[in-house]
Symmetry: C2
Subunit: 625 residues, 2 copies
């Protein structure tokens, strides 16, 4: 696919057409002087379906985060440190790359104000901008004499000739064995929280929240087992908006009790996906004086503005987001099983790579394909959880690299290899990064790897009070790098769903403190510090870890303490470690971790009769002395 | 003074009077159902003059932070972890203590909503509530059907019979030798920043910002060398609002060039302090269409609302706040000198305490008095920078304790002694805490002390990239405590002024991330982790530290690195350290620090001929092996 390429997309003609549309009375009443193209879909999803890849269509950059803005004279794209290199390679010179996080980079608002003529109108599709972003942007523009206007017809769709259709894939109903809780129990718990806060309605727009709530999965968006839907829940009613064809499946009908509801308040009323706007209008028209309606402030501006201000209670994250983040015992057990299976596949992969690489035939793409093949042999495998980052040497420094035929390098004995990959299984979601060398790493590569490992361990072994927010742990991951003047330009960890999105809120481990909820036992996050030397190599060590209670010598104010248990059980390459740089405590951590990998994954490899991988595992988990 | 006592203030009659005033048409058009009494003055100062101690007057609690709210039925006070014990001791049972930071504690807004009858009016004096707090409170109350109303007559003043007068002390003009920059140069630099952001006016309300800008000091507020004033600066004009009597002093007139201004745009127009409101109204009435006016969002609601929204540019901290935070070479040199003199006084104090304590005659109060006496012998001493915290045994666990006759304990060989004290010198401000034992500390006391020391060192020796915000360093101070299940309920550090307020913004080291600006070379903050065992002892180790460039092995993206240089040079008691718990790096830090104390302070002790203190210093700075 041309837009996937690392060569720039030619956008002269597209920009000309878009600028015409910005003045075309067919779409807008008055011409607009700028048009904002956000990254997400109407659900503010991070990963999106092809029909929603509007920002990629207009500028060529296909990373997971970024906003494009086109004015009559300029075209600019804002993205973060993970994507600087990739964006600069994918965009032609009609585009200016705005590197977010650098001091000299203007915000979108400041930039617009600096380039726009007086009294300008800035347009945006209200369905794909979040309400809080709309508010901030609108305020900033107004203060400078401009205005933000909602353009109902999406102008990218207007010029996108062969835009793909919105997917409507088969739904999977998950039983108690996987979910631990019925959707009816989840609805009841949710209503309890609504009653506690005197909320009578709740508009749910995040796809993973609805999938989790109803114990349903889909495959509308690649890698994310979700489906296009909305829900409006009240104390007595449940309205589900989804393509009606999907509800013909008898298994789904049975699961949702569509034909024989057990109780009136657990009866699901189904509506077409597209009717959410008019149905919400109808609900709002009938609200009682004191009725309050929850909606996330990250929901679309279009839906948010349907709710009259007096009834709207905008929240930074929803109770479903938090409930979903704290995994129940069944989900935790499932995640553990998924990670053992995933480790089996990776042990096989590394054993295979060791044998094959000297032949000179393994490439980034073929290694990624092999990883997928080995994972697919495991029980309850559904698909990958994100595009595999399989990168050799300088490609490893592109943080969210994805190998393509044009960029594909051959694995060798001379360069560092970084593979960040994961899968969806019916019982859980995985996400693991290992950085390895199949020959002899340089002292500098080992030194950097060891700093990253020290950071990984510092987070993984951290003990912290109940109620601590993840951002307070971020610096632990960086201290060893900082000491030597090094750093990495991404957060240290993200929440991970259970057979759901590999990135989920509301907790994480990042220097960004936005909407960061306290860590609780049962939450699952990644721990993935890195170091990237542009043009040379990339290093990242990532485990998925479970928040668990910690035993401590004392217990200040009876608050209790937490720590992490690694769920990922794949050896960390000893060859890459300069053990002189480790403290005794860090050496003990590595040895304990490898012992656990050997015992747990070893037993499963034995059970599956995968002898070569078992030998590899045993060799790679020898204790450091 | 009765309100200073640790026995509760009897408030039955005062609350009755206040509740009457809340219904009295003399003060308000319609009765209010609740009245908020914030902690600050019209400048949102942390330390306040006696005439502004309204919250203390109504409830008895005299800590530096806290908000009282009185309704028809209830009276409640919100304060933070530093003050839980003190507030509970100073308030009678008409008051409910709301412990901020605990999960179960409602916010002021939530509490008001839960106790108020429908459609209530909540009153507050708009001069002593910050604009941003007004906005949040008003929004929350409106959303629940109530309203926040500005009560122009302060209801506490209305019932406060012998309220003291507002002070108007002599002004001190500081020359270049102390400030490094003339006020004219500071005005010019400020105007440069205003021009950069297209701002034509700036309303300055923070007392320390105006004192810094004009190189003037006063003593209107105890411990803080500031004076009651406002300023309104434009590209061409300077309006200074200050009691006109103070400007009769010829030195001040000369300093401000009041009688012979060098340039028209550096001519200061003087107005009475009280006329700021009407003068600002006049300025606003004459604003041109595009004129923008800066005001800090922490300025009073009263003044903020004078500025029409279209002209108002509310900023979270002002350019003066930031300029003041980055000390120039003259200020840095002054701060270093002040800390050496301060260390001389403290070495003498500790040598004296060692001799006197066995006699059983030294108390918390007499030790504090001795510290002040010794400091006052040093050159350019002006006064203390905050009330000395001199606390023995269980009193040490009251984080902002101040010894009073009723609570005064005798120093002994059996209990831990914590002294947190500092002074104002013409060349700088100091703030230092040492925790010592004059007999034999218990293993547990030593263990806790050593964890706190490890935290202190972790911050002080931290290396971090340019642009890092202080909150990202806070966890370094806690990691050793957390590991053992311990913690402390206050931030790790605050900005320190140069012969100005001992607490200043916009940077600090705290788990609170609010308005936290990146650390830069030249900034000065405190590093003061602690541990407090209620009813038993308190530990805190505090140095004032200067942000300096760090030399690192590598330099990622040429960002440069920073670290800290301790300005405080007072030995840390070796007897309290369990050296087995220190790493070699930590032992080296202690030895290097003590070597510097010995060399730098030793030379000054020698110069001043203070032999006993020198002997003490030499003994206390022996290296750990």
């Amino acid at each position: 696919m041309a837009t996937d390429a690392m060569s720039p997309k030619i956008t002269v003609e597209l920009l000309r057409q878009l600028r015409q549309a910005m003045k075309n009375s067919k779409y807008i009443t008055e011409p607009i002087q700028a048009y904002i193209i956000p990254s997400g879909d109407a659900h503010q999803s991070e990963y999106i379906a092809p029909c929603d890849c509007r920002r990629e269509f207009i500028c060529g950059f296909n990373g997971s985060a970024g906003t494009a803005i086109v004015t009559e004279q300029h075209a600019a794209l804002w993205t973060d440190g993970r994507y600087f290199l990739q964006a600069s390679q994918q965009m032609d010179n009609n585009w200016t790359l705005m590197k977010m996080g650098l001091k000299e980079t203007p915000s979108q608002e400041d930039w617009l104000i600096s380039v726009l003529p007086e009294n300008s109108k800035v347009g945006v599709d209200p369905w794909i901008i979040a309400a809080d972003q709309w508010k901030n942007m609108s305020k900033a523009l107004s203060s400078a004499g401009h205005s933000l206007v909602a353009v109902q017809d999406n102008l990218i769709d207007a010029i996108w000739e062969d835009r793909p259709a919105r997917p409507s894939t088969k739904l999977i109903a998950l039983g108690l064995k996987y979910t631990g809780l019925t959707w009816q129990d989840k609805i009841t718990a949710l209503r309890g929280k609504m009653a506690e806060r005197k909320i009578s309605w709740f508009v749910v727009t995040a796809l993973d929240e609805i999938a989790w709530l109803f114990n349903l999965r889909g495959s509308d968006i690649e890698y994310n087992p979700v489906f296009f839907t909305y829900a409006i829940i009240s104390i007595r009613n449940i309205r589900l908006f989804v393509d009606s064809k999907r509800l013909l499946d008898p298994v789904v009908r049975e699961h949702l009790e569509l034909d024989s509801p057990s109780k009136p308040e657990l009866t699901i009323q189904c509506f077409p996906y597209e009717s959410v706007y008019t149905e919400l209008q109808a609900v709002c028209a009938a609200l009682a004086h004191k009725d309050k309606m929850w909606i996330c402030d990250k929901a679309s501006c279009a839906l948010t503005q349907v709710i009259p201000k007096a009834h709207r209670s905008a929240i930074p994250y929803t109770p479903l987001c938090l409930a979903k983040a704290v995994k129940n015992p069944t989900e935790i057990q499932g995640m553990k099983m998924a990670h053992i299976k995933d480790a089996v596949a990776l042990c096989e992969l590394f054993a295979w790579l060791e044998k094959e690489i000297p032949k000179g035939t393994v490439t980034e793409i073929s290694a990624a394909d092999k990883a997928e093949e080995l994972r697919s042999q495991q029980k309850d495998f559904v698909g990958l959880s994100f595009p595999t980052i399989s990168s050799v040497g300088p490609n490893g420094a592109i943080i969210h690299y994805r190998p393509l035929p044009e960029t594909n390098r051959t694995l060798s004995l001379n360069e560092v290899y970084l593979i960040d990959s994961g899968a969806q299984y019916l019982d859980g979601t995985t996400d693991v990064t290992r950085t390895v060398h199949f020959g002899t790493p340089s002292d500098y590569e080992k030194e950097c790897f060891t700093y990253v490992l020290k950071g990984h361990i510092a987070v993984s072994a951290a003990v912290f009070p109940n109620g601590t927010k993840g951002h307070l742990l971020d610096s632990f991951a960086r201290a060893a790098l900082w000491d030597s003047g090094l750093d990495y330009l991404h957060g240290t960890g993200h929440g991970v769903g259970c057979f759901l999105n590999v990135h989920e809120g509301p907790c994480g481990i990042s220097y960004k403190t936005f909407a960061d909820e306290p860590l609780e036992a049962g939450m699952i996050v990644s721990d993935e510090p890195g170091y990237y030397e542009d043009g040379s190599f990339g290093i990242r060590i990532e485990n998925v870890v479970l928040v668990i209670p910690a035993k401590t010598k004392y217990n200040y104010r009876n608050r209790g303490s937490l720590t992490f248990e690694p769920l990922t059980l794949v050896p960390i390459q000893l060859k890459m470690i300069n053990t002189d740089l480790l403290t005794q405590k860090e050496r003990d951590w590595v040895n304990d971790y490898h012992k656990k990998c050997r015992e747990t994954v070893g037993a499963e490899l034995e059970r599956q009769g995968r002898k070569e991988a078992l030998d590899w595992l045993i060799r790679e988990t020898q204790p450091i002395v």
